[in-house]
Symmetry: C2
Subunit: 420 residues, 2 copies
């Protein structure tokens, strides 16, 4: 049996970023402009340096230099052959028994930065952002609160991946504080709405994927070809103002309740890194229409947690434990549906899952469900209780795939709530 | 009394583009890259030439050269002082009694192109696009069809400008054919949905405005300062697949029914050009909350028409005659509401009105209303009838303000329906 893939860079056993992962991100070093890098252990490998060194000059790159860019958009647009070639080059160069980079002290000094010394940026310029509603348990729980268990799901829910267009401009990277929004809300007993800070401020545990080359307007992506369009995935927190949402959302959907801030993790984990954790999509009943059916359609075994730390807690407390596999619709189905009428996707577009809840109470992915609209407040280890997020609370979402002796992880997306 | 403002460029009396207008657009000349121009009569004045000639070097331009760009985004970001300075320079240079440009044969040959010789582009890279639902008559008509006249408007409708995020990537410029989308629909008597071409393909007569400098995330734009953020306006056709919409839209709003194509006119008419046609906003009852109230809030007297020409008709036939003044919510209210929770707007973002219908039957801005969901088909002058748009139909929207002896117009947005 061969040794497991191992890097000359030391990687802690619980690190999210072993050589099996190699997620892409955009970082700003202590001095100089932002550029593209890959996480390995607690280091960032600067791909612009390796590119200048001639490592990415094969035909897959179409003569383009893409790693000095301040976003991943051009790399995403190159498509799967370039993504795979880059991964192959990096897994070779970083391997314990490859000497080229390992023994080149000068190149190593140029190419590696400690992660603690860099500032992560948004990985892409996000042209359009779409949010789906693909968790059965989340949709069922929310529908039950609004309409009772018999009418919890709308008639369309099991026929198509319900989704809506979100706001791209207010997507921020982990570590950005989020200001509690003000807005119109209407208390049930009031004759008129009132204006003020949202009183039911929530998180939503989600994941999202980035689009690669994209498709021209009017040319749908058939579901069998969807995987070629998917560059990789990140964690997302779709911060939500529930009271604003309740008053505004009919009949055209959420608007100000969601568009004040959406946070994502900075490292984009590629589909090739997730490949060992692919699972068959559970059977869907009713059977989807043909344009939503693919041979071997897949989901992924990704463990997900949300952790809450109030201003007075010494450490975060896990309030959600769930898994990406609980989603009803696959990402290939989401993508095929999105384009079936001709909508064009572009490099860097972001498609999100919607809140990911599982079947158990502790696997619910937002406060709305965990506290059942505030009826059952959470009790935290230090005795505090929460119906919703309060000012000063920090909410972090993390996720990883558990390999045999290693983890392929997503790092985290974290944000602290500032007062309105 | 002074002579009316007049240009040395001949302008037909019914032209949309006299010297009083001077709308901005992005055009591609017969040879060379796209750049910024202004329409005057049947000509385009190339601003990149005047910029190289040193005409736009005053402090308002902050040392930037913006007119060789292939979009208006950077010019939009400069703000009202630069927009006004440009207008002042152009109204001076183009005036009949100013000799600088008029008598400079060489510069004139460089700077002017016949509009028929250039190809108009999208005026801006549109980062985010929002569509409001601000016509009382449209919302009331649609609500009446769905829920009866007593419940036509949702309780929130008169308290806030209802809106939703649309798809930016599929916004196209006039003249682009639009392909009838395929999608899921559910016939009322069927047990399951079916997939196929939309059978109720519609237009929506709208107008939209472009954002100027924008606001940082978390910093709302107070309504009194909204006008500084509004660069100018265009015509819009928000093509819609009504049968797709009916099946998909609950609970998160329209998605595939709208995102396959949205068309706009290429010339952006500035708010300064529209100033003579400003009207007081009619009283709103109930009185809006304070963040939606401005001294002297305004609307505009803009006449709007939609014209249908089927494949066999010799000329277009007007099917909608309406006016921008029929909108209930002002554009300042839309902008203030959009940002009140902290959402950031960016240069080139587009905010649309929603379908503009008036109080009379012939002022309804879409087939859904004109034919009352197909119950009362339109009869066209050649004897054809239409419940919805059919393949080969061309739908054009035009709009203008009627001045004293001149028109400030928007040109048109036109598109032809291709089969699925």
């Amino acid at each position: 049996m061969p040794d497991p893939l191992r890097s000359f860079i030391e990687v802690a056993p619980d690190s999210h970023f072993p050589i099996q992962n190699l997620p892409f991100g955009v970082f700003k070093p202590a001095s100089g402009a932002a550029r593209v890098g890959v996480a390995i252990g607690d280091q960032v490998l600067d791909l612009s340096v390796l590119e200048q060194n001639g490592q990415f000059a094969s035909s897959e790159f179409k003569g383009q230099r893409v790693f000095s860019d301040q976003s991943l958009n051009r790399f995403m647009s190159l498509g799967q052959p370039a993504w795979r070639q880059t991964r192959a080059v990096l897994q070779h160069l970083l391997a314990a028994n490859t000497s080229n980079l390992r023994d080149n002290t000068h190149l190593r000094a140029q190419a590696f930065h400690a992660q603690r010394d860099v500032v992560m940026q948004l990985p892409a310029r996000i042209g359009d952002y779409t949010d789906f509603y693909s968790s059965y348990h989340h949709s069922h729980n929310v529908g039950t609160m609004l309409r009772g268990p018999e009418n919890a799901l709308m008639p369309n829910w099991k026929w198509l991946p319900v989704g809506y267009h979100g706001r791209a401009s207010s997507i921020v990277v982990t570590g950005t504080d989020v200001r509690r929004p003000r807005g119109q809300t209407k208390p049930p007993d009031a004759a008129a709405p009132v204006f003020g800070p949202s009183r039911s401020f929530d998180y939503e545990l989600e994941m999202a994927f980035f689009i690669g080359p994209g498709n021209p307007l009017g040319e749908p992506v058939p579901i069998e070809r969807a995987p070629e369009q998917i560059f990789g995935m990140v964690l997302m927190n779709d911060w939500s103002a529930r009271d604003v949402q309740a008053w505004e959302y009919q009949p055209l959907g959420p608007f100000l309740a969601k568009n004040f801030c959406t946070s994502i993790s900075p490292w984009v984990v590629t589909m090739d890194a997730l490949e060992p954790f692919r699972l068959a999509l559970p059977p869907q009943e009713p059977e989807p229409l043909p344009y939503l059916r693919a041979q071997n359609d897949s989901t992924y075994n990704i463990q997900l947690e949300a952790r809450l730390q109030t201003a007075t807690m010494p450490e975060p407390h896990v309030i959600t434990r769930t898994n990406f596999r609980h989603l009803y619709w696959s990402i290939a189905q989401q993508l095929a549906h999105h384009t079936v009428g001709g909508c064009n996707l572009q490099p860097g577009d972001l498609l999100a899952s919607g809140t990911i809840s599982g079947p158990t109470e502790d696997s619910r992915g937002c406060m709305l469900e965990l506290t059942w609209r505030g009826a059952n407040p959470l009790t935290l280890p230090n005795g505090e209780s929460r119906k919703w997020l309060e000012d000063g609370d920090t909410l972090a979402i993390t996720g990883w795939c558990e390999g045999d002796g290693y983890r392929v992880g997503f790092g985290e997306v974290s944000g602290r709530v500032l007062p309105a």
